[in-house]
Symmetry: C2
Subunit: 465 residues, 2 copies
């Protein structure tokens, strides 16, 4: 039987109209004022999923008063793999509104780019994935393998309900792997696929040296200054080679294997130009390249530090309190629990007698994630990209943290492959967020090819992975 080609079913104009309607739903998850708009986005998706041919559509509630995730399934291919396709329907707030060239919730095309809040993160990439499924179904009346869909409504607020949603629906969500429509491509000029992301974790330091701010004339020189102590501690966290000094910090780091390293060094990357572009310079752990520092090496950053007088002019106080927010990016091999314990013990040890240091506000402590090098979905994704774009993609990592992969590995026991067609420079979370129009064509074509390739696989391929 010679089925019609799914790609012939793709109608760009109809797709862009659908995308425009989806983007008009102001699904800002962080602000309760947009709750009705969140409902609108879910309604839009439900209708679209039904149109495509999905069934058993339901809302999954994490039970903590958050925004429900949306589930749908098409499971009519027994003997074929089952993939859980992930995306998120929530977006960042559009502020500052006055910096948008066009209305953030009214998609506009300018110079080959589509502008709207959420178009790149992650509504565009999600609709591209659904478009590929729609085309397949329209052309062949079925999908090449079993598909479950999970569309989250809280990605932009740190996925607070997702752990419950996953652990309470293990059966429903069971699959051979996750295929994520989220997780942007690194560069527009490079055919690459993300194979890993850094973990993270952090906490807040608070130092107290007296009951109140003290007059620097009446006390200066004779009592400790909370900011001096904080600066001393922060300065101790890196050595003169810019290595993190926390004992054991690097002990368990697993650097990428030779093949991945070779890929990495094959990338044409102008570190100097890259940093100059943001008004900065190349900097970091001695002995490593900029890309290694970004993807393969763990790091510790102070994200905020404050104490004392910040107003205009001067106020001659000895600050009695100082605060710092610290986060780390972790790489494969590092155990968040071990790093957390070592960091806290080390920092406490840096605090002198008579100075009170409190460590609180733990955040994250997510492991790094790396797709197994021979994972069948990764191999299929690479082939699909090569067939679409004409060249074998390089395997790259992302320095950021995508908690989904680690969370899904922990709860559902499966790996994640990122297959998004947004690009990291498309102003996510900022005014004038955009998606390249070319990404729509590339994305739909690559997704259709990927669906075909997975359709040629069997569940046992995944069990071996």
């Amino acid at each position: 039987m010679s089925s019609p080609s799914p790609l012939e079913q793709h109608d760009l104009e109809a797709f862009l109209n659908r995308l425009k309607n989806y983007l008009a739903c102001q699904s800002v998850s962080t602000d309760p004022a947009y709750r009705e708009e969140m409902n609108k986005a879910r309604s839009f998706l439900k209708e679209h999923l039904i149109d495509i041919g999905f069934s058993n559509i339901q809302e999954l509630d994490g039970g903590i008063g958050g925004h429900n995730a949306l589930y749908a399934e098409w499971l009519a291919k027994p003997g074929k793999p089952t993939l859980l396709i992930y995306g998120h329907y929530d977006v960042q707030p559009p502020d500052p509104l006055d910096q948008w060239i066009s209305d953030p919730f009214d998609m506009q095309e300018r110079d080959g780019r589509l502008y709207a809040r959420g178009i790149s993160d992650d509504k565009g990439p999600t609709l591209i994935a659904l478009e590929a499924l729609r085309c397949h179904m329209a052309a062949q009346g079925e999908l090449p393998f079993n598909v479950k869909i999970l569309l989250e409504g809280e990605e932009e607020t740190g996925s607070p309900s997702l752990p419950n949603i996953l652990s309470q629906n293990r059966e429903l969500l069971a699959a051979n792997a996750i295929l994520s429509a989220d997780g942007a491509r690194w560069r527009a000029d490079l055919t690459a696929i993300n194979v890993g992301s850094r973990g993270n974790g952090g906490f807040e330091l608070s130092i107290k040296t007296a009951d109140l701010d003290l007059h620097s004339g009446r006390y200066g020189g004779a009592v400790p200054n909370a900011l001096h102590e904080m600066a001393r501690i922060i300065a101790c966290l890196h050595d003169d080679k810019n290595k993190v000094t926390i004992p054991g910090f690097y002990d368990d780091v697993i650097m990428p294997d030779a093949e991945t390293e070779a890929d990495l060094h094959a990338i044409e990357f102008d570190g100097q130009g890259w940093t100059a572009n943001i008004g900065s310079v190349e900097f970091g752990e001695e002995g490593y390249s900029t890309l290694q520092r970004l993807w393969d090496r763990p790091t510790l950053e102070v994200n905020g530090l404050w104490g004392g007088y910040q107003g205009a002019g001067s106020k001659t106080v000895i600050p009695n309190e100082a605060h710092a927010k610290i986060t780390m990016r972790l790489v494969p091999g590092q155990d968040p629990e071990k790093i957390r314990a070592s960091a806290k013990a080390y920092i406490q040890g840096l605090c002198p007698d008579g100075v009170e240091l409190t460590i609180s506000g733990d955040r994250g402590w997510t492991r790094a994630y790396a797709v197994p090098a021979k994972h069948p979905l990764l191999l299929a994704a690479e082939t699909a990209l090569e067939k679409t774009l004409g060249e074998k993609p390089l395997r790259v990592r992302v320095g950021a943290t995508l908690p989904l992969s680690d969370l899904v590995l922990g709860t559902l026991g499966i790996d994640t492959v990122m297959f998004s067609f947004s690009t990291a420079d498309e102003q996510f979370h900022a005014p004038n967020e955009f998606l390249r129009l070319s990404a729509v064509k590339e994305g739909v074509e690559a997704w259709i090819k990927l669906l075909d390739l997975v359709g040629e696989q069997s569940p046992s391929d995944y069990q071996a992975a």
Copy 2:
């Protein structure tokens, strides 16, 4: 001729009524809303000065749109010294109002203490000085020496007009010395006289490492972090003995002479109790006592430091900017210009390549001040205190900065003796400011004795000083 005793002219009840009326003038200099109240305070003083017998009363304008100072004189004792008596009629704002037990502008007595905004700083001490002059005049129809009065209206806002007022009225204000009714006593349980104060100076550091805050996942480990650099610089400003590391910082320090040192060590001072009282600990430059650290040693303090995210939760940014406000307290011998230049050069040198450091916002750069050890007005003040309180006062310094002394020395070429009867624990600048009732009696008596003692001196005593 046996004149009646000036002290017999003192009527406590009438004095307290007058003080209550003066305190009812809400002379808050920092807030333009109180401008009319500033006028009221000046009118009150003019009337009182006329009542006492002063003439040539005038307002001195610094020409920068500030609050005028008030001048008055009584110069009918040719051949006797001329003193310029200083006080200020402005007060701090009364906020936070809800923390006052009684109305800040309605003087109330409770348990031997008089409560009102400005009663200790500096309206009470000023009226005590005027009361002594009034009693003298009432008893003897004249004063024992020539008196000029200068009452400033901008002390609480850093005396912006005072340099102009002094330099534009050198002739009018010419005197043998300044006798200041401002400059609180250190402790209620110690008979002491302030013989010096520290200088000060400071600036602000701003570090920039990129054009904008950067995502710590996408950039972390590969670009500089403004807060790391700031912490490193701040941590470098003190060594492990808590000495300031600025080159030459201590080179010109003149420690007090043996006699003053002996006085200092004669003071019973429980440093541990003093710091425990404010929830702190004794701390500072190795090899010096707490009192030496406070009075005789220069110090450097970070008064404020900030950068990055300070809100709730976490935000994984690499801050592109960091700021710090720094001030120093200087001691006799140190040249503010030299310290300023050395500090700036040293701090600039601590900043690595690729990181932009700006030093701006110079403030202060006032010399330390010490009354010459044998200054006739100091000797007279000590005698007056001894005669009033029954014991020889110890010579102490104050760790804070009183720019008046240095300013007057520079413009009028004369020294300053502080003769105030407020005490440093009387909640200046805070709710429930008070003055000990006992200070009124002690103050009026000591001022009267001091007037008599100066009346026995001649201008030539001062020329020798």
